[in-house]
Subunit: 193 residues, 2 copies
């Protein structure tokens, strides 16, 4: 699938393989074969596998920031948080897990430089959820006795775990359960026909 930029193709492909199979289960040979070049040519674009992984993760972090900017336009904290959960559902529908969750599960095998974008991805996500929850509690949109940090901190692992487990069992029902539990904790009633 050649698009305009070979480098971008490789980033896309690598990201997809990491989200589908894991960092330690893809090789330059896989990449090269799918894009129609030789493995040595991949090294022209990315000197090492570590560098490729780093660039994939950095771009993913940028994409998160872009999403957060888009979601800032939404009319309510509920809508913002639904959009956040929705992005995980999109990933699930592709038969993939979050790139960051995939990297996190392989963290002990990754070299140091990639740790910081992984870290920042989680940090930023959590921080953003905390802000949403806090704003919703202050405006009266949400109602909860628990501290907003506790609620917010439990959402991220839930979503990551739901994606990881859903490919084995449960499919979309896990994510639905997580979403319902979370919004119920915020006192948001489930909207049904």
């Amino acid at each position: 699938m050649p698009t305009v930029d070979r480098r971008t193709d490789l980033l896309d492909l690598a990201q997809g393989m990491i989200q589908e199979r894991g960092y330690n289960a893809f090789s330059f040979k896989d990449l090269a074969a799918r894009v129609g070049i030789k493995t040595a040519s991949v090294h022209y674009h990315f000197p090492s596998k570590g560098e490729l992984g780093l660039q994939v993760m950095k771009r993913y972090l940028d994409q998160l920031e872009e999403c957060l900017r888009t979601w800032a336009e939404l009319p309510s904290e509920t809508a913002r948080l639904r959009a956040f959960v929705g992005s995980y559902r999109d990933t699930e529908n592709q038969g993939a897990i979050c790139l960051c969750g995939s990297m996190a599960s392989d963290i002990q095998t990754l070299n140091a430089p990639i740790h910081s974008p992984i870290n920042r991805y989680l940090e930023r996500s959590e921080q953003w959820v905390v802000q949403c929850v806090q704003a919703g509690l202050e405006s009266g949109e949400f109602l909860s006795t628990l501290p907003p940090e506790t609620l917010a901190m439990s959402l991220l692992p839930s979503l990551q775990g739901a994606l990881i487990l859903s490919r084995v069992q449960g499919g979309g029902t896990l994510l639905t359960a997580v979403e319902q539990s979370f919004f119920a904790s915020l006192g948001v009633l489930d909207e049904r026909p």
Copy 2:
């Protein structure tokens, strides 16, 4: 670390490496080196890596059943569920993730036979949590408007995700947040000094 049974040593070691580094990041060479034999000798005990993985996972499923039997003795549903969460905390304290969570994140790269014990592990865990929640709701120990299945289904992914993310960031605080959110959803107040 030679104990009585070499086969058991290899199972223990393999399990540890999968929980710490992932299935695709350990080799027969690693195993052999640590146990002090050659890789060919490992093949005497386990014909293939797939078979080894399968046996590790089967044993882990047996260990779960044993835990559930032990926890049946506990005096309340709250105690049972705290013990369940506690077992995840033990794993976290070892710097590891759940074997099943690790396998699940690599599911696309694993051959068919290992799928069923992974599946059963999740199935059994969820089923058990549902039973606890249901019993607690019926006895009045818990209080919730959400269906017990929804609550129970959201716990497992939360715990798995918390372990996976905790090695990157947050440490034990993620698991604590998950635990507090879960028990709050059941109307169980946090016990503090």
